[in-house]
């Protein structure tokens, strides 16, 4: 577990442009990419009460983010800043094949 004392929390937000929303394929790509980072990463649909572990595909699917919704991402840990940048890029570029 990462202690908040050892690092800053980085945040980002990005619009989900994928035509059918956060369905199986985008969710798999997002969690795969998140797992490449040490940082603890959470996501939520903008304004949702709960933050969700970005490394859990079951929870990402359960989030049911629709096309056009805004995804907020926060991360803490040594590579948190890079994680935010990579995840924002993945969503913004519509989950290209080969990514994640």
């Amino acid at each position: 577990m990462l202690d908040k004392a050892d690092g800053q929390i980085f945040t980002g937000s990005v619009r989900l442009v994928h035509a059918v929303g956060m369905h199986a394929r985008p969710a798999v790509k997002l969690t795969k990419l998140a797992k490449k980072f040490q940082a603890q990463i959470s996501v939520r649909v903008a304004g949702a009460p709960e933050w969700i572990n970005a490394k859990s595909v079951a929870k990402i699917m359960a989030m049911r983010a629709a096309h056009g919704s805004t995804i907020e991402i926060k991360a803490s840990g040594s590579d948190a800043e890079a994680a935010i940048a990579a995840l924002v890029d993945l969503v913004a570029s519509d989950f290209p094949d080969g990514a994640g």
Binding site: T31, A58, K59, M61, R64
Partner: protein, 539 residues
């Protein structure tokens, strides 16, 4: 009644077209035997081993199947690697539950959540989870690894069939899939379509008997122990399907349809962006009608400019140089939208709907026009207004649109006014067609027929009167086409008539040279035009 099913026919829903005639093979989920649970540590180890084994099996299946199937299976692998999900199951084992019970309970919870989703896509994902659940349970019970033995050409009958089981079956000898439940949007249905395996879903209950089956994926029927006569008729249908499909697909690849030496433009209607995934969509000459109401149904709030722009832009990118005609919101009538349409109208079909509604709700219409103005610089965009009665309405819409373009440009945002046209669906518009300064006309034959014939198209009791080939309807279509021809304005037709082969001779004789149909009808319509052109009948 000793379980005889001879000659009986059952009807379901089409998931994949095609025909199969072969032995009926029942596949049960397999209740299996009970297993004897060990100590907490043994149970945790058993589950860990089962998960690893399942993961390996799925990875092997994905590697041999490749393509779309591999992507579908990747979701299952990701679930097995989901620590949040798996840890909860180990915690439950730690509380004393046997491995299979703990695993099943957690997966069942997930499945129930997917089943309760409103989105049909998410509902269909529940069969992926059931697939994974059963695979691990089978391994835990020690009855793993026995692949389904399906005789070549067999008709597989199951309650539902998970994608991995589908992939384990050797389909090289043909065969078909008959599901008592299931869904046409499931992963297994996508796989069946990709492989050309006929598949019928939602057959309901069928008797627990039958040795031979005829499966007709087109008519969505399953016939058990057929008589010689049933087989003869079935084989005839299969043969004519094979011939027409082969020639229709060959015709589809030809550049343009033509009739008596004139090019007939064939475009497609789409309801949402995903409709472009249809395999035949690529052969269209463009998009004749993109409906935008799907944007209104997704959420409780109305879609913002960016969401709309992204949707329009993705369609324009798909189309490249080809024209894309987007229809502004056609809400009202039988399509009420909370927060947009007016409640309590006594007769909504004759009420504030289509362009009338948009002009009455400029705050909503403006957002759509801004998104369209920005999209117009990205491709060959045309915009049309629905439910237009008088030329003043078109001009009011145009003025609003032009002001928006000007404001965007003043702010340094790339935008332009696209070509503007109208739907011809109000009889008054068809009769006074020359009064509209439109760049194009698109005849909405469904509403036009409803208004001309004074028949509510949702009222089944009026079906015999609701004839789109009524001379009055054809007269209005012919007048509109004739005006277009003289004034050099393109006229297309995008209603159900365009996709109905029986209506084609009349439409061509009315002077129409542009038709817009659903992608699934494209091959048949192109083929029908070809037949008519060479002097044949509708077929």
């Amino acid at each position: 009644m000793q379980g005889s099913a001879a000659g009986l026919a059952y009807r379901g829903r089409t998931a994949s077209i095609g025909f199969a005639h072969g032995p009926l093979v029942r596949v049960d989920a397999g209740a299996g035997g009970e297993r004897v649970a060990g100590t907490l540590v043994e149970e945790a180890l058993a589950l860990r081993k089962a998960i690893d084994l399942a993961s390996g099996q799925i990875a092997d299946l994905a590697a041999s199947a490749g393509g779309e199937a591999a992507q579908i299976l990747e979701f299952q692998v990701a679930l097995l690697e989901d620590e949040d999900l798996i840890e909860a199951i180990f915690a439950s084992i730690g509380e004393g539950r046997p491995a299979d019970v703990a695993w099943r309970a957690t997966l069942d919870e997930q499945i129930a959540a997917y089943n309760s989703a409103e989105d049909e896509y998410l509902q269909a994902r529940s069969s992926d989870l059931a697939d994974l659940r059963d695979r691990v349970v089978h391994i835990l019970r020690g009855d793993a690894g026995e692949p389904l033995k399906i005789p070549s050409g067999g008709v597989v009958c199951a309650d539902d069939l998970p994608p991995s089981r589908f992939l384990e079956i050797d389909w090289s000898g043909g065969g078909g899939l008959a599901l008592l439940h299931g869904s046409p949007t499931s992963h297994v249905a996508m796989l069946a379509r990709a492989r050309g395996i006929p598949m019928v879903v939602q057959l309901g209950a069928i008797p627990d008997a039958g040795a031979t089956a005829l499966l007709d994926g087109e008519g969505a029927t399953l016939e058990l122990d057929p008589s010689a006569e049933q087989v003869r008729i079935f084989e005839k249908r299969r043969e004519s399907h094979r011939k027409s499909r082969a020639s229709a697909r060959a015709i589809l690849r030809r550049p343009t349809a033509s009739w008596r030496g004139e090019h007939i433009k064939l475009l497609i209607n789409i309801q949402r962006v995903d409709d472009l995934d249809h395999a035949d969509a690529q052969y269209a000459d463009g998009i004749g009608l993109m409906r935008t109401e799907f944007l209104l149904s997704r959420r409780s709030e109305l879609p913002d400019e960016e969401t709309q722009f992204q949707a329009y832009d993705s369609v324009l990118r798909w189309a490249g140089q080809r024209p894309v005609t987007i229809r502004t919101f056609d809400a009202g009538g039988d399509k009420p939208v909370p927060g947009f349409t007016f409640d309590g109208e006594a007769n909504p079909f004759l009420g504030v709907r289509g362009l009338r509604l948009c002009l009455a709700r400029p705050e909503i219409f403006t957002v759509q026009l801004r998104a369209l103005a920005r999209a117009a610089v990205r491709g060959n965009l045309k915009v049309m207004f629905p439910m237009v009665t008088s030329a003043d309405e078109l001009e009011a819409g145009r003025k609003l649109f032009a002001d928006i373009v000007q404001r965007l440009q003043a702010d340094g945002i790339a935008a332009k006014l696209p070509e503007l046209g109208i739907m011809v669906e109000v009889p008054a518009a068809a009769l006074a067609i020359a009064s509209f300064k439109a760049s194009f006309f698109s005849i909405g034959s469904n509403d036009l027929a409803q208004y001309v014939l004074a028949c509510d198209r949702s009222n089944g009791a009026l079906a015999p009167l609701m004839d789109p080939l009524h001379p009055a309807v054809l007269e209005l279509i012919a007048r509109t086409a004739e005006h277009g021809r003289r004034a050099g304005i393109s006229v297309s037709l995008c209603g159900d008539m365009a996709g109905d082969p029986r209506c084609l001779p009349a439409l061509l004789n009315c002077g129409l040279r542009e038709l817009s149909v659903n992608a699934s009808a494209l091959a048949q319509i192109k083929q029908t035009i070809d037949r008519l052109s060479s002097g044949g009948s509708v077929g």
